[in-house]
């Protein structure tokens, strides 16, 4: 990684930093797309904190007013992650997997060793809570199965429940449905839309929306269908015009709203063919040398919406 690359990355990092902390975007589902090698995974790892950014910073806010936010330097329980592979602990049943975070969070090793009786009753409470979350993702009957006994789709659902039980400020999904067949993939996409619906209902009641989701995917249809905002990261942009001799790195070239669907809406990819072709053109085409902020209009759209709402 060159220095130049990092400095451009700061710009993109700053861009996505707003996605995670902004008041508007709490409760949103941001889909990140981009050609291979553009740094999607690098960005995600930086947000998780396992491979901190070399320049720029990631800041997580919890939504209180006048908050400075916490800068990300290592993985922490305010950011949940679901990987494509190895998403569950193989030695725990579904229910234990979901309860695992509660155990780590609410008890310590010495506590579990020194006060086994107290720990046992606490553990029972954790398992009850886990059962509720398993029910939420539709897997109440699979509570006692080990990951090896579950299908890929079930594993990913348990993994999502496992991350959600911690009530993270943001849930990161790294190509979570990449290894699943189409039917299973659709089911899980609808599950994410159910979470989004809960967000909208919470917003209507004036509550803090519970789920903020950041999903990395290579599937454009999935990005538009699931996300309410699509961000395109790409190394194809007009760096020649900015005076660079070689490409300094990937940056955000596309950032727009995506249509919002309800969990039981029909999934018709034809509806958003226009947006899909636009993204393909702007983000994935190596011949593309447009100005990099031509399609970064998300915030403008948000402000337009707000003014419209203010003066109907």
């Amino acid at each position: 990684m060159t220095q130049d690359w990092s400095s451009t990355f700061r710009a993109s990092l700053t861009g996505s930093e707003q996605t995670t902390c902004s008041r508007v975007l709490r409760g949103g589902i941001v889909a990140l797309v981009g050609p291979s090698g553009c740094g999607k995974s690098t960005l995600l790892r930086a947000i998780v904190g396992t491979h901190p950014a070399k320049a720029g910073k990631i800041v997580v806010f919890s939504g209180k007013t006048r908050e400075h936010g916490r800068e990300v330097r290592q993985p922490g329980r305010d950011r949940g992650i679901v990987y494509q592979k190895y998403s569950l602990f193989p030695f725990l049943t579904a229910q234990q997997n979901v309860a695992f975070g509660l155990m780590l969070d609410e008890s310590s090793l010495p506590y579990r060793f020194c006060r086994p009786l107290a720990w046992r009753s606490l553990h029972r409470r954790h398992l009850d809570q886990a059962a509720v979350f398993l029910d939420k993702v539709g897997l109440a009957s699979a509570a006692n199965l080990y990951p090896a006994e579950m299908s890929g789709g079930m594993q990913q659902r348990v993994a999502i429940a496992q991350a959600l039980i911690m009530r993270p400020e943001i849930l990161l999904l790294d190509e979570p449905f990449g290894a699943l067949d189409e039917a299973m993939r659709e089911e899980l996409q609808r599950m994410l839309l159910t979470l989004y619906l809960e967000n909208s209902q919470a917003l209507k009641k004036g509550e803090k929306p519970p789920y903020t989701i950041f999903i990395v995917t290579h599937e454009l249809n999935e990005a538009i269908f699931v996300g309410d905002r699509v961000v395109g990261l790409s190394q194809y942009w007009n760096w020649q015009e900015e005076g660079a001799a070689t490409c300094p790195g990937a940056t955000i070239v596309y950032d727009q709203k995506a249509p919002v669907f309800l969990p039981d809406d029909e999934r018709d990819y034809g509806q958003f063919a226009h947006q899909r072709e636009r993204i393909r053109e702007v983000v994935f085409n190596p011949e593309n040398h447009r100005r990099r902020n031509e399609f970064r209009t998300f915030w403008k759209e948000v402000h337009q919406d707000e003014t419209q709402r203010a003066n109907p």
Binding site: I81, F89, F100, L104, D105, Y146, A148
Partner: protein, 268 residues
């Protein structure tokens, strides 16, 4: 057909048949040998074996103890303590090496070298350093199995995907919890498998050492009785060793299934 499964009754019947064939072959050979030489002691027949078993199990006139009992206690104690120290040492070293690059760089080279020296060849060193008491046997077995077990643990730690470790951190785990609740849990079944495989070598080291310097124990008794060509004592002792090894194997397998029920399911 290749890999075609057979009914369970068939499998059991065939297993029993093979043992029956083995035993019949032995008695056939013994019978033929005794026809040639009625006083033969190399392949004892049933009467001779009974006499030998009696000798091993009755209270001995001179020592006022039963051979098989004192031998079994001595050998088992040496083996268990040796394995215990070896396993604990290997677990600590292997976990340190797998989890921390400093320990990996420092410990891996000597361990890789020591693993290549046959422990039976090291017997002389152990005799000189640790004498010929129980401690010597324990040290020998422990050092004999440690390099292999430590490498198993080390590789098993390396096998744990980074994702699971990261995931644990995002769920609020401390470093100690990642080591104990995530890494160790996945190392344990592989360690138990490796112990199962190391029981054999451990017994080889032990019997060899007992044959050389022992004054009690299976290896010692087999050597003494063999010198007197009392094969009717040697064969029952071998059968006991086989049963003992089989029991250890079975027990460790059961232990693994009990402690790590998930592991067997993963293989399928």
């Amino acid at each position: 057909m290749i890999r075609q499964p057979i009914p369970r009754q068939w499998a059991v019947a065939l297993g029993i048949l093979s043992i029956v064939v083995l035993v019949s072959c032995y008695f056939f050979l013994s019978h033929r040998q005794h026809q040639k030489n009625p006083n033969d002691k190399t392949i004892p027949n049933w009467t001779q074996l009974k006499e030998g078993i009696g000798k091993a199990t009755e209270v001995n006139r001179r020592a006022d103890e039963r051979w098989v009992v004192v031998d079994a206690i001595a050998t088992a104690k040496r083996l268990f303590l040796g394995l215990l120290f070896g396993v604990v040492g290997a677990l600590v070293l292997g976990m340190l090496m797998g989890c921390f690059a400093v320990f990996e760089a420092f410990l891996y080279p000597p361990l890789a070298l020591l693993a290549k020296i046959p422990p039976t060849a090291m017997l002389a060193v152990f005799f000189v350093v640790a004498g010929t008491d129980t401690e010597m046997y324990i040290a020998m077995i422990a050092f004999g199995v440690l390099p292999t077990l430590a490498q198993t643990v080390y590789l098993a730690v390396k096998d744990v995907p980074d994702e699971l470790q990261f995931k644990a951190y995002t769920l609020g785990a401390s470093h100690a919890e990642v080591i104990w609740n995530v890494i160790f849990r996945q190392v344990l079944p592989k360690l138990l498998d490796s112990i199962r495989l190391q029981v054999g070598p451990a017994m080889v080291f032990l019997i060899a050492a007992e044959m050389v310097v022992g004054d009690v124990g299976f290896g010692y008794r087999i050597r003494i009785e063999f010198k007197k060509l009392n094969m009717n004592v040697v064969y029952p002792y071998l059968a006991l060793l086989a049963a003992f090894g089989f029991g250890m194997d079975f027990g460790l397998n059961r232990l693994q299934r009990w402690l790590c029920p998930w592991y067997a399911k993963e293989g399928k």
